[in-house]
């Protein structure tokens, strides 16, 4: 057997290894999300004074009221349906009246604003008086949710081991790219070296400066972002470096945001400023916007192109979410609706209908999570369908995309040029891909952004392409599973909606490129090239990170873990 054949077999073996490896990494990231959970025990207990009945208080924010959807249900006709909120903050427990008819009293004194309560204080709603007791006063067993039920059974991978796995994966991609068919040199390894340095610095800061035990969300983000960077090496080296720099900025933004939203009350005071800032950004975009591919969603600042709408996504989630006692106020909700309308309108004005669609779908998610009202959602959808018809009437190039939809092969050299290439090269890659840098998809316009699914499928294989799509869905599952484990509804709503936004964006990207939906030209989270896009993805990931109650309580968990060991 000559040397070339030996080399070829090694190349193919490496190619086959990567998908297995990627699936393993993604699995490990999600498996460790279930680790280090606080046991299912009540935080405090409420004892109803005249009956002696004990009610466990399970969440950081609890609605008290007569309606059955309340976290703490009081069967008393003098109590309002949504009466007050009992919430926990770093400073202790608080009670906040949310517009009840008969008022809320602490030790006999009526509360008008959020007021602190201490253990053994009496809280009176209607004719019912409850006494705040410690959590261990409640001694019945609670049924844990499925997500956490077997969390402690199997120890999952240590974060640093996960990091080593991810590093190796990126290095393997670099090795493949070094031996690519067209160019053979060591630049991919240099890029990988820089990438891994950035990743490990971030890891070290996270675990030692911020004392965070958990790193799985960041690990997943780094894994995906790294794939995006490595795919660019053989396509356009300059873009790979731009992507690396943008990723670094994204990591800084992530760390900043996690810190910034640590206190859900302080966040509220910034709300108006963020709203005005976001609208201002869109305004600047409309005035100074540069038209690119039919949409004026770019602005040029000192030679750097920026897509402001990507950053507005973060503001959008931020404005949409709120703590439980503020969630109920009408003003807060109306402000959000107006803000959404302005955002979607501005994007439509720029001609960026893909992003407008993402904003609109996210608006529906947030609106429903806040109000639980299907009527609002249906009304909004009806309005959107109407708006959509108007768009098709006045912007004919959008209608052209619809015309090609489902007729790819008839229009393979015309209006469905991009989709046809995506499908062809997806099938050309097979299960294991043709190897990093060996694809032909990379010569197709927008293959690194809108059509990146085809690029991934061709070079890394269909298994990895699908695994990435599934990983983003899993992010939504995870965000949903931790809803009641968040420290505030601000986090649970923002996390669910940030994940929802990413799922919708992924759907538009993947299905648009593969002709299941019309091509709208949006990016694939974390993978697609584009500085603004990746920065915004890390920003959105910060919301999910913040929703995890472990994020801000690491020292305590570490201490507890050490005590358990002893």
């Amino acid at each position: 057997m000559d040397f070339q054949v030996f080399l070829d077999i090694a190349t193919v073996a490496l190619r086959m290894l990567l998908p297995v490896y990627a699936v393993f990494i993604i699995y490990q990231c999600f498996a460790s999300m279930r680790r280090h959970r606080r046991p299912e025990k009540p935080l405090v207990t409420l004892e109803i004074k005249h009956t002696g009945q004990k009610i466990p208080v399970l969440f950081w924010e609890n609605s008290i009221g007569r309606s059955r959807g309340s976290d703490i249900v009081i069967a008393d006709s003098t109590v309002s349906r949504d009466h007050c909120v009992l919430l926990r903050r770093a400073e202790g427990w608080f009670v906040s009246d949310i517009g009840s008819k008969s008022g809320t009293f602490i030790n006999g004194k009526e509360t008008l604003v959020r007021e602190k309560v201490l253990i053994d204080d009496e809280i009176t709603v209607g004719t019912t008086t409850m006494v705040l007791k410690r959590g261990d006063e409640y001694n019945e067993r609670l049924r844990p949710s499925w997500f956490f039920s077997k969390a402690s059974d199997k120890g999952s991978l240590q974060p640093y081991k996960l990091m080593i796995l991810i590093t190796l994966f990126h290095v393997f991609m670099a090795v493949e790219a070094c031996f690519s068919n067209e160019v053979q040199d060591l630049t991919p390894l240099i890029v990988a070296g820089i990438l891994e340095t950035v990743m490990w610095i971030f890891f070290v800061i996270s675990s030692y400066a911020f004392n965070r035990v958990n790193f799985e969300l960041e690990a997943l983000g780094l894994f995906l972002s790294g794939i995006g960077v490595m795919l660019l090496v053989r396509q356009e080296l300059r873009s790979a470096f731009v992507q690396l720099i943008a990723m670094t900025i994204g990591l800084i933004l992530f760390s900043f945001l996690v810190k910034f939203i640590e206190n859900p009350d302080r966040v509220n005071s910034w709300r108006m400023a963020i709203m005005i800032g976001a609208i201002g950004l869109l305004g600047i975009n409309i005035i100074f916007g540069r038209v690119q591919n039919g949409a004026a969603n770019w602005i040029n600042i000192g030679g750097i192109s920026v897509q402001p709408s990507e950053f507005v996504k973060i503001a959008f989630i931020f404005v949409g979410a709120a703590a439980l006692d503020r969630l109920q106020t009408k003003r807060n909700f109306i402000e959000f609706i107006i803000f959404s309308a302005v955002c979607v309108g501005a994007l439509a004005l720029m001609g960026d209908f893909g992003t407008a669609l993402i904003f609109f779908a996210t608006f529906l998610l947030i609106a429903f999570m806040r109000s639980g009202d299907f009527k609002t959602v249906i009304l909004a959808v009806a309005a959107a369908v109407f708006a959509g018809i108007m768009v098709l009437k006045f912007k004919p190039y959008v209608a052209n995309r619809f015309a090609a939809w489902g007729h790819v092969w008839e229009n393979a050299q015309g209006s469905a040029y991009q989709q046809a290439r995506t499908l062809t090269y997806t099938a050309s890659g097979g299960l294991f891909g043709v190897g990093t840098g060996n694809g032909y998809m990379k010569y197709i316009f927008a293959s690194e952004s809108d059509l990146v699914f085809g690029l991934v499928a061709e070079e890394l294989g269909v298994i990895i392409a699908f695994a990435i799509a599934i990983a983003i869905v899993a992010l939504a599952f995870y965000s949903r599973a931790i809803t009641t484990r968040s420290r505030s509804t601000f986090y649970s709503i923002s996390a669910c909606c940030a994940a929802g936004l990413m799922v919708i964006q992924t759907a538009l990207n993947v299905f648009g490129a593969t002709d299941i939906l019309p091509l709208t030209g949006v990016t694939l989270p974390f993978i697609s090239a584009g500085g603004s896009s990746i920065i915004s993805c890390w920003g959105l990931l910060a919301f999910i990170k913040a929703a995890d109650e472990r994020t801000y309580a690491q020292k305590r968990i570490q201490r507890r873990a050490k005590e358990d060991e002893r």
């Binding site: 070339q4 070829d8 077999i9 190349t11 193919v12 190619r15 950081w60 924010e61 609890n62 609605s63 959807g69 976290d71 779908a361 998610l365 429903f368 999570m369 639980g372 046809a420 290439r421 499908l423 062809t424 090269y425 997806t426 099938a427 050309s428 890659g429 097979g430 299960l431 294991f432 891909g433 043709v434 190897g435 032909y440 010569y443 269909v462 699908f466 799509a469 599934i470 869905v473 599952f477 965000s479 949903r480 809803t483 009641t484 968040s486 509804t489 649970s492 709503i493 669910c496 909606c497 994940a499 929802g500 799922v503 919708i504 992924t506 759907a507 993947v510 299905f511 593969t514 299941i516």
Partner: protein, 460 residues
């Protein structure tokens, strides 16, 4: 927070919807990948049209029709005429001839499988060779007999379904394909179409087979009727003519003399519904296949025809169109008691097509009842005897049943010539169809093409 938890089911629904979409995409990838891959622009297939690693193609006797040489260049038959004769069957480096073996079975030839994709290093690639059922010599003989005229000839074994001869003109040399520009595109009009399976022509008198079959089924006393032909027949002010006045004719004689006047009357007796029913049973307006390759449908539509036009339709004019391969299948059904064996062109097709699970092969197409087909067979045998006795037509000494056709296609143009039928011989059971566009009279132009092909098959 419980309420928020409940409402977050919406996000779960969105995620599940997305997940289902991913499943649908995966399904499409698995089922449609070979279509997606086989695109002319696919960079992974660029050298020699992606055939650099393709296996060879041989005819039924092992004559090489296409192969890839040591330097990765795709080469075709050594014989110039064979290359031209089988261009549309074998194909060239491009995918322009979409029905050719090198287009339709490209993924098999290159051994593409979705599992490995197209990125395999060449040292680890294997290729698959295909053996065709066609006989290169017979196809070349038929092609030479066609001369410079546009047309096609197919012969297939009606007992086994093997396609033995298939040729189509206009053709070109696959070793040296023409560059078609705006200036010469008229000259090369339709060159990428395999006339044997992808074109339809006005059938003319060969359609009388259909009209006769319909009459046998629907007119009980057809054999007792006599027709009088004085050379022309007027319906609604329009004349249907014969070349000569045939005088008084029985049904049988009307068929063998191919009397337009008689058959126009029979078509009128039958009416639109009966004639359409028989035509559709016999494969008009129906999807038929050569192996996996769909034939262009023959068409018969008299739904908007007046009485006069119905009469014209009954003698194969009006808007009637026939596909040559379909005509051979129709003749095969008459040869074998109403049921035609489906034709195919890949010899080891059992294994290869079953493996990819796409086969249309196997089984028969029921077209006529046994008694009707036997009666039609008698009519065609008489017609053949008439040609043999009167015109001296001989098909390698074999007994045969046949029908000629001469289809008028316009005032300034020569008519299309047809010759369809089958041999009655256990050793050489051939169903055939030949069409020569603007070839003149069927018996002289088209029959000689079939004659050449069958001689090559029998003596060759």
């Amino acid at each position: 927070m419980k309420r928020i938890m409940q409402r977050s089911y919406l996000i779960l629904i969105v995620s599940i919807a997305f997940f289902l979409g991913v499943c649908f995409l995966a399904f499409r990838v698995v089922t449609e990948n070979s279509t997606w891959v086989q695109q002319p622009y696919n960079g992974h297939m660029s050298s020699s049209g992606g055939l650099a690693q393709a296996g060879s193609i041989t005819d039924r006797d092992g004559t090489v029709l296409a192969y890839t040489d040591a330097s990765g260049v795709r080469r075709y038959s050594d014989d110039y005429m064979t290359r031209l004769a089988l261009l549309h069957v074998v194909g060239d480096n491009s995918l322009n001839i979409s029905t050719a073996v090198q287009s339709t079975y490209r993924t098999e030839l290159t051994n593409y499988s979705f599992i490995w994709g197209l990125g395999m290093p060449s040292s680890l690639k294997s290729s698959k060779s295909l053996t065709l059922t066609v006989d290169a010599a017979a196809s070349t003989a038929a092609y030479e007999a066609l001369g410079s005229k546009k047309g096609a000839c197919v012969v297939y074994n009606y007992k086994t379904g093997e396609l033995l001869c298939s040729t189509s003109n206009l053709s070109y040399d696959p070793e040296n394909p023409p560059e078609i520009t705006e200036e010469n595109e008229e000259e090369y009009d339709g060159v990428y179409l395999d006339n044997a399976i992808s074109s339809t022509f006005t059938p003319g008198s060969i359609f009388k087979i259909v009209t006769a079959a319909s009459a046998i089924d629907h007119i009980p006393d057809i054999y007792d009727q006599t027709f009088y032909c004085d050379g022309e027949y007027e319906i609604e002010g329009s004349k249907i003519t014969c070349e000569e006045s045939h005088g008084e004719l029985s049904f049988d004689e009307a068929f063998s003399h191919s009397c337009n006047v008689a058959f126009a009357q029979i078509a009128q007796q039958l009416g639109r519904e009966n004639l359409t029913e028989t035509a559709e049973k016999l494969g008009f307006n129906q999807a038929l296949y050569l192996g996996d390759i769909p034939l262009t449908k023959s068409s018969f539509d008299v739904s908007k025809a007046g009485d006069n036009e119905l009469a014209w339709a009954g003698i194969g004019q009006y808007e009637d169109l026939s596909n040559p391969m379909h005509m051979a299948i129709l003749c095969a059904s008459i040869a074998s008691s109403g049921e035609a064996v489906k034709p195919y062109e890949i010899k080891d097709n059992e294994s290869i097509l079953k493996k990819i699970g796409l086969t249309q092969n196997g089984g028969n197409i029921k077209m006529l009842s046994v008694s009707t087909s036997d009666k039609v067979k008698d009519l065609m045998r008489n017609a053949a005897n008439y040609y043999y006795n009167v015109r001296g037509l001989d098909l390698a000494g074999l007994d045969f049943c046949a029908k000629t056709g001469t289809a008028e296609i316009g005032k300034d143009k020569e008519p299309n010539a047809w010759f369809v039928g089958f041999t009655e011989d256990d050793e050489h059971p051939y169903a055939f169809a030949a069409v020569v566009a603007e070839g003149g009279y069927g018996i002289s132009a088209a029959a000689s093409v079939v004659q050449a092909a069958i001689s090559a098959l029998v003596y060759g």
